[in-house]
Structures are given as structure tokens and as C-alpha cells.
Symmetry: D2
Subunit: 343 residues, 4 copies
Amino acid sequence: MRVRQFGGIDQLGVEDVPIPSPLPGQVLIRLRAAGLNQADILVREGRFIEIERQQRLPISPGVEGAGEVVAVGEGVTTHKVEDRVVILPMLTCHACPACASGEVSRCPELRIVGEHCDGTYVEYIALPAANALLAPPQPSWEQLAVSVVGYMTAWHMLLTRGGLRSGETVVVVGAGSGMGSAAIQVAKSVGAAVIATTGSDAKCGRALEVGADHAVNYADRNDWHDAVKELTNGKGADLVHDTVGGATFQRSINALRHGGRLVCMGSHSGRSAEVQLVSIHRNEVDIRGCHTASMSEVREFLPKIGSDWLQPIVDTTFSMNEVQAAHERLASPERFGKVALLL
Amino acid sequence: MRVRQFGGIDQLGVEDVPIPSPLPGQVLIRLRAAGLNQADILVREGRFIEIERQQRLPISPGVEGAGEVVAVGEGVTTHKVEDRVVILPMLTCHACPACASGEVSRCPELRIVGEHCDGTYVEYIALPAANALLAPPQPSWEQLAVSVVGYMTAWHMLLTRGGLRSGETVVVVGAGSGMGSAAIQVAKSVGAAVIATTGSDAKCGRALEVGADHAVNYADRNDWHDAVKELTNGKGADLVHDTVGGATFQRSINALRHGGRLVCMGSHSGRSAEVQLVSIHRNEVDIRGCHTASMSEVREFLPKIGSDWLQPIVDTTFSMNEVQAAHERLASPERFGKVALLL
Amino acid sequence: MRVRQFGGIDQLGVEDVPIPSPLPGQVLIRLRAAGLNQADILVREGRFIEIERQQRLPISPGVEGAGEVVAVGEGVTTHKVEDRVVILPMLTCHACPACASGEVSRCPELRIVGEHCDGTYVEYIALPAANALLAPPQPSWEQLAVSVVGYMTAWHMLLTRGGLRSGETVVVVGAGSGMGSAAIQVAKSVGAAVIATTGSDAKCGRALEVGADHAVNYADRNDWHDAVKELTNGKGADLVHDTVGGATFQRSINALRHGGRLVCMGSHSGRSAEVQLVSIHRNEVDIRGCHTASMSEVREFLPKIGSDWLQPIVDTTFSMNEVQAAHERLASPERFGKVALLL
Amino acid sequence: MRVRQFGGIDQLGVEDVPIPSPLPGQVLIRLRAAGLNQADILVREGRFIEIERQQRLPISPGVEGAGEVVAVGEGVTTHKVEDRVVILPMLTCHACPACASGEVSRCPELRIVGEHCDGTYVEYIALPAANALLAPPQPSWEQLAVSVVGYMTAWHMLLTRGGLRSGETVVVVGAGSGMGSAAIQVAKSVGAAVIATTGSDAKCGRALEVGADHAVNYADRNDWHDAVKELTNGKGADLVHDTVGGATFQRSINALRHGGRLVCMGSHSGRSAEVQLVSIHRNEVDIRGCHTASMSEVREFLPKIGSDWLQPIVDTTFSMNEVQAAHERLASPERFGKVALLL
Ligand SMILES: [Zn+2]
Ligand SMILES: [Zn+2]
Ligand SMILES: [Zn+2]
Ligand SMILES: [Zn+2]
């Protein structure tokens, strides 16, 4: 699957490409499923933020994927043919201090599969062995394919940056996205209570199925921060997880208890926000920006994918030929969870 | 000194009031100096935020003061006549959980001397013994009188909320205020490097005298956050201390290193701020709102007042009859440090 | 049930006692089950450590219990007849700073039900309303009765003092006790991996049933700390939970990874330990002593009792007339989990 | 200076050695002073713990030193001739994850100058440029030479591991050693109060001169932990810094307040200790083992050496020909601070 020109959904099309050979240190993977992300739309439309570092068109989108190893390059001892793997999309230099300490987001050479270079909407891909994570046996291909980015983000935001603790109450703002449903599950898996906010009664119902203790439809209740206060006996939430951005930032602060924490990442609803400073001061709240997880965090959750607690939520699956329909669903407000392509 | 009608400086005037008697549990203090605060202007102008909880006019302003105990009420065993004391302005119930754990700012009965009720612009004041802190012998009356609020705030913001550590670099935004000069000193006293920002070359010079390692005149350099980057070899500050508010909030975030912390309190330059969310996310910064110090923090710094490190900065002193001139100086942009009244 | 003379199991006997009336602020509870603890043996044998503060004989043992409210004293508004409650055994003054901040273990007036005064081996007990915690509906009487002390201790040790995080590996030393099986469950409920050590293959099997990922029989493997290293690919455990004491202290340190934490409480296997200091220094380990949970911790886990994760493990139940057999079982090395009396 | 045979002080002698040439990446340093450490005695006596990794005899002892760069090897751009440098004695691989993240103590290739290979009792030494730290201008050669190991250890123990905060009280156990006097200074430099313990009235006097607020002669008061309680109004110390080992470990625990922390490293007074477990449990104390500082910590204190706060304490200086007398002084109980050799 390639994007030939930046533009609308019609620019997505299937074409034959040669099967690559694994270079030394790489593995060749027969992908079985790809997971779709908002980033794929930006790539398709030519709005990827580091476009000057992006490879020339045509480019394959796709940040997430899972499949089987079918060949290993020279010197690879960590993988063998038939290994079940899931893709870690960050390509790094493995030499700088950031890489050595596992904080991949700070590597100056960082490139993302499917953003800077060809991605996972493809049958065969060759990647460094370190980017092919050995996967647990339980989950289906599509579950594996949609799992890494969401859990990675949720793990980093809720546990590392947010310090979420069993018995606390967390609000997941915008629970309908892949990141939202992953956050509900991660929060439940460590014993927290979850209040989900989302934009329709149908999606509230899905959030409850995924494990949320309460769901608030913000289409009905614009003052959802007050609903959070009511659900916490007037106290406010211990933690708020916001991946929505400008449209919700102030309300997310308002939903916190005295001493509560807001973890935030992403801003698709608005890149800036007008903040009442007294709402930060008076309750001594913490606002903690979040960027990217480290490898040690991935190692913590990977074995848990497919367990009772971490069941990746697949909204819909499409075949390769239905890629345009897949992108339509990706943009639909009805979607709950992730869209996958079977390859 | 009393305010008879809310209004301008001309509403401040001296009048005779009877000397109060200490109630059981109180001490009677002959005040020797009062410290002036921005809050005094709000009280005078009738803009105190909890005006519905404020005593009727006339009211004495004055949150800070120091003097000698001249009489003790029934049951007081902690103080004796001639004790040198400095006033802790928070009047609390001493019974609620917040009081018991020392977090006075959360006591529902909290009232502030000079804001909710008569303050320190007066010769004699009777207060609960717990609000008369035994003072170290070195500092002058005016130094003592201006010390508590500034160091309390700086201690809470820099050490408790900010976690400032020896060897780190902190930016004190708005170093010309009493809170600013107190913050410079507290930061230096724990071994941090200080970059001060203030609005004139003269005040930059004063900030350096008080102990700042560098001073940036933001009248010249509106992009003072870039000056911070230059002074830290491109890295950014470990901590930013901002008591200015809306006008500086975004720049304070921009001045931080990856993983840096912003501690903030107060908003006299603007109650709201427009924030670029990516500036919070990308560098994984923490924004930590601050409100009020606890008693255990006051106990930590009180013995240090007057030591080499904590020398309260008195800008000017005035006699009681010069109270109008004192308020003029309080509002002057030339002021550096605190204004005191000798009583 | 009363102990008439300090001594062996034969000193335990049933006798009629009048039903107490609830004083103002108290509730009268018809107990349905009592949970047995090692402390009950110390009380029976006259070896309770604060015996000079203990009530005169005869005394009822029993720190834990659950039942129904049958009457409420004057002024009680928090409870009503037929409420299902579980007993919080710490009687405190509710006035000192420790009480106000919820750190009950530091209240100078602290007394423990069943240790300092009559306990739960009884049909009717009158206690302050705050010591009758409203219980969730799912668990059986015996499960409720045996739950509070174990989960309270495990919660405090693993989460508050130990900072256990999802994806970490914790060793539960002595998994056969009530505290041990509670610790396995609490650790699993927050997403940690558990290695249990216990003294027989049968008990290893039970530990696995309760949720441990691995179990080591220390009767076979005296070098169980090496087994921990093997099970963690040579790295060592992130956290060790030791309620055994002198006999295991050094091995618990040896089982830790670089930077690992040992949380410890209790010393029934030996009150002192010989420690190799280099084993603390070289790996920069933390040893964190633990005493008693706070009320805020109890509030965190109470709603979870009876959920999938926190299923109190009842080894055996006995009727009131079988109390001597119950104490025999309490002391038996075959016991796994808690012993309960039905009342 | 070389040790030709392991043994007593008489095995130390001066001999001519050729001036080395700097290899690529190295600098050649004309040492002006060396600092002596307990480790030098172990090396001389053949008791160095990793003797199987040690170079063959003869070997120069000396872990610490300072001097001028006299030549730079190929590719060195960070140093130039006449630079004033102080030696960082850890030689590492600069390639492993531990090195990349600055935790030099965990590099598997770690070797120590003067322990594994020739040290600083010499006029000329060639070392990797990264081991020649650019020194501030104020301190004398002997002050520089004795500074790095002591402050590095104190910084790591008190600030990183101990979390020492301004206003807290720390006990420095064994204040007469180089590590002890460095710890007093570091603690004072961040605003803590210091209680020093040492073995004579003369050394107590010196500890007070160095900055301790109180000094306890443990030759007089074997129960010095009770003296600590008296000096803290019965509360106990917030932090205890113990580099003495087995002889003081239990008393160091006893000197802590509820919730206090013990940081410990080294065990020259005894490699093991008998610990009363209840003394750890009851007060919920933390015991935190310490090993080696990281490079980021060295960068924090290096610019402060020679400032008012960090004035390295030189007990005595000797010329190269007096090396035997220097080792006698090193072992003397009268010594306070460090012994230096002028080269
Ligand atoms: Zn890199
Ligand atoms: Zn109160
Ligand atoms: Zn109490
Ligand atoms: Zn290395």
C-alpha cells in the first residue's frame, strides 16, 4: 500500500513492491496485520510535522504491525524464523546516551516507521532486530498489531509520569480513541477506579464494557468536570489522563482534587489552551507533560498483552483492498478502539 | 493606622485605638515594625477576594509584623514578657485534620491577619500565642517584620514543591519583589545557581548583590527565556519560580530544560495565560501550582533568618505618619525588596 | 470465649457474658466470624508485649471480626441496624495530630482490640462507630473476618512503603501465613509478578493457586535467594516482602537486584539478624521498616475485598466450641491462609 | 613512588620511572599533589579486594591527585597545555549502558587509578582526557588533590541517596575521616544542621570548626545515639551518614527519628552487624546502601570546591621523600581530614 501523492483517502492504493532482503542486524517480517493511527492521516495528507526529514513519495503509512519472522540478517542471534513479533516503530542510533539509557525519544537520530520512512501497510518489511519485539502467544494478529502504541503511551502517562496507585480514581478524557481504551485497561490493571468521558451514549457503553467504572457523555454534559466531582463525593479525581488537548485542558484541571495530577499528551482538538492560573495554584495541582515511553516500560507491559487485563480493543478490521474504507473508519466519530488491516 | 473607606492612598490615616487585652491563650505584642505586601493594596482598595468574610470598616491592613510580648493571656506557657516574636498571619481552628497535620491553608476556618481582620499597621496587637513565633536574635525589627511571608513562600515553592537541589539552576522570574529576593536567597542557601529576571538595569544590579549569579533585564530582552538557554549552554533551567502570572507563564515554560519544573503562584500580571501545549508535552515538563506553606516549613527556616544566607531585603522604611508614602513606594516599579513601617 | 489464666490451649474456654450496651458514639455488633492471628497466641500465653497496658484477666482474644450492627449508640449517624461491618482493631484518641492525619500507629493512646482489651472471640461487641467499617456485600462472614489485618499490612508494605509497580517482580517470603497470601494477592492486583517462598510442596501448590507466578520450597532450597536470581535471569527481585524476621533477613537482601527494596515487618523467626554490610552497600539496596497502615490505606482496599483479586484465603473454620482446635490449627505448619471462628 | 613488595610502611620507596607519553585520547599531567586514602593502605598491604584484577608489582598507590596538563594526545580537543585538572579515578569503557547513563560504578570494565593500576604517587601520569576534570581556580594543589573522593561520596550519600533537605538534622558518624569532614561541609552547604560524632575532644573541636553545629565525643559517650536524641528534643535525627560500619550500624539506626533515613557505605570497623529488627520496623526507618557517585553528581559539586562552603580539610602535607611519615599519619587516630603529598 502506498501513498503516491499527498491528499485525500483516494490517494491510498495497492501496488506491487519487491520483497526486501534483511541487511546485517535486520529481520525480514511477513506482516499479518497493521494497526492504524491518527498519524497515518497526517502522513497521507502531507502534514507530518517533520516532513523535511521524511523520505520521498511514494511512502507506505503504518506505525504499528505484527507478523512472523521469515528471514534473519547476518549476525542476528536474538530471533529465528517463525518467531511471532510485534513492531516497535522507533528507529534509533543505539549509540547515544539517550539510547543507552533507554530514553529513545531523546535520540537525535530518532525516526518513526511509517512516518519518516516506509511503514506497516505492507506484506514484507525488513527492520533492525531490536524493533521486532517477541510477542506473547495469546493475542490475535490484529490485537497484537494495534497494541504497542496505545499501551506504551498509557503506561508511560499513567504509571511513570502519573504515579497512579491502586485505589485512586483516574479520569480518561476521550475514552473512544485507541489511546483512551488502552488507558482504561492499564488503569484497571493496577487497581484504579476509572471515570471515562466520551462523546456518545454508545461509546459510553463501550467504555464501561472495556472496564470503566463510570462513563460521562460530554455531548450531554459539557461540565463533565462537575460530573467528576459528583462521582468522587465532591473531592475531584486523583489523576486525569488527557490526550485530547486544547478543548479539554482547562476542564481537566478543574476535575482534579487538591494535590491531583494531570498527565497530558497530544493536542488534536487544539494546540493551545487558555488557562485560569488560580485553578493551578489554589489546589496545588501538578500538570505533567508526556512524550514517549522508554524501552524498559515496553518490557513491563509486553508480556501482559492478551491477559485478562490488557485485551486490545479492535473496532473493525479491513483487508488490504479495503484500505480506503479503513481510513474512513479511522476518522469516524463512531469508532471505539483501533482499526486494523489484515495483510 | 486604619482604612476608613476603601479607596486610594489618601484613605490611609492614623488614629487612636485602645490597647487590647490578651484573651486566654493570646499574647499581647508591642509591634516594632510592620512589613508591607501587595495584599495591603487590595485590602485598601476593597478588592480583597474574600471581602464577604472580611470584618467591617475601619480595618487595619498589615499581614506581617514583629515586636515584643508585653503581656500573656491565661493559660499561655509558651511565651513570656520581653520575648521577641514575629507574626504568623494565618489564624486557624487548631482542631480540623488540616490543622493537625500542619497544612494550614486547608483549614476551613482560615483567616489572615490584615486581610480578614485587623492587621499589623498598629502599635499593639493581641493574637493567639501560636501566631507569635519566637524569633532569632540577630535581625533588626524591620528585617524580622518583612521576612515571614517571603521566605515561607520561597521555601514552599522552591524546596517542597520544586524539589530544588544543590547544583541545579533556577530562574527567579520577577526578582524585584519581596518574594523574588527571598527566592534568590533561599535558592542560594541550598547551593543552587540563580538566574534572576527583572525590569531595569538597576534592579538587575540589586539582584546580583542579593546573590543571583546572573540577571536578565526583561525590558531589554523580551525573549528572556532564550537568555536562560544561553546561560545554561542551550540546556534550559532545572526549575523556574514564577510569581508574576499570566504575562510570563508561557516564557517560564519555554525556559525549562527537558524534564524541568515550573513552580508558580500568584497572577498579578494576568489571571489567565494562553499556553502552547506542545511546549509542555515535548520536554515532559512539570507545572506545579503552589498555595501556602505549612508550619513545619516555617520551623525549618525561622532559625536561619539573619544568618549569612537569609538576610531579608528592606527597600525602604517609613514611620507611622509616613504610611501614605510607604504605600506609594510599595507600588513603585523602582522598589527592590520589601517596604517596612516602624511603629 | 475467654482466657482465664495465661497458658496453653486448654486455658481457652467458652462462658456466658452479658450483652453490652452501646455507649454514645458506639455501635453494638453481632459478630458472625472472628479471624485468628499469631497475636492471639501471645495474648493467651501472657506474652503480649505491652502487658502492663493490658486489661486484667479474663480477656477475650481476637483482633479481627465481622458481623451485623444490631444497635447504635447516641449520636451515631454513620451506621444503622443491619449494616454489614468489619472491625478495624485500632482504638485511638481521634484528637492528637497522628489521629488527625490518619497515622493511627503513632497515636499515644493507641489500643488494639483483642490485645489491650476484650477482642472478637465473642458474639456481641460494642465499639466506636469508626471501628466498624462498612463492608462490601460479596465476601462471606469468614472471609470478611480474616481480611482486614492481612490486606492492611500488605497494602502498606507493598504499595506505600515498597512503591511496587506493575511489571516488577516481588518475592513474598513465608507465603503460607495470612499475611503472605494477602501479599500475593495485593501484588497480583497491581500487576506485579510474584515469587513465593514457603516450607512445603503442598504450600507451594497453594501459593500458586492463590496467584503466585513461581513458588520456591525453602525446605528444599535453603539458598532460595539464588532461586530468585535464576527466576529473574540473574538480575534479582525488584522488591522483597519479608514478615518472617531474623531467619530470612540476610537472604532477603541477597535476593534483591541492584537498587532493589526490602520491606520488612515482624520477627517471629528471630528478633535480630547478623547482616553483611557489603550486601547493602554494593547493590545500593533500600531496607524499609514497616509498622502499621493508615486509615487512608484501608479505604483504598476495603471496596476491593471479595473482588477477583482480593479473595481472602480461609484455611479452616471452626465453631465457637472448637476454639481449642482452632488454636491448634493456627500453630500448625500445614496451615495455608487464615483460620476463622464462626460465632 | 612505588610499592615493591606488599607489606608495611617500609615497603614504600621513591624510584625513577620514565615519563609516559600520552596515547590518543589521553592527557599527560604533571601532578602537583596527591591525596591519601585508606585504600592506599590496603593496596600497600596486598589486601586490595580485587587483587586478581590488579597489575603486577611494583605499583604506585594513590587514588587522588591534581596538577597541570603538559601534553595532550591525538584527538583530544577538550584540554590544552596548562589546564589545571583534578583526577577522576574511575577508568571506564565509555561504551556500555552504565557508562552512557553516567552510573560508572556499574561498568563491567571499571578500574580505579591507584587500586587496579598505577596511581597518583608520581610526578607524571597519562590518563584518558575524561579522567582529568577541569578544576576551579581558587583551591591550592593539595586542597584539589584531596577533594574529589570525599565530596563525591558525601554528595551521593547525603543528597542523592539521603534526600537531605535544608532545615533537617543530619548525624555524621566518624567525622574525623576525610569523608566525615566532607560530609559536614556538604550538609552545611545545603542548609542542614549537623551533629558530628568523633573519638576525642580535639577532634570534636575540629568538627565544630569545619561547621558542625554539635559534636559528640563517642569515647566519652558510648550511647551517642542518646546524645542525638537529647540534641533533637527527643525526636531523633532526620538522616544519619555512616561510613564506619559494623561498630556503629545499630546505634546509627537508634539515632533516627520516626521515618528517618540511614545512608551507609564502607565497613572498616566491621564487615557485619547484629541488628535488632524491631528498631527498623517500629520507627519505619529506611536504610539505604551507597556505593559510587555518578558523573552528573561530580559536575554538580566541582565548581563549588574552594567556595565558602566546600573547603577541603588538609590535615597535613608531606614531600615525596616523607611518604612513609605520610602513611603513618594516615593511620593515626589523631588525624582530622586528609593527608596530602606534594609532588
Ligand atoms: Zn540514539
Ligand atoms: Zn483547622
Ligand atoms: Zn490519637
Ligand atoms: Zn562501561
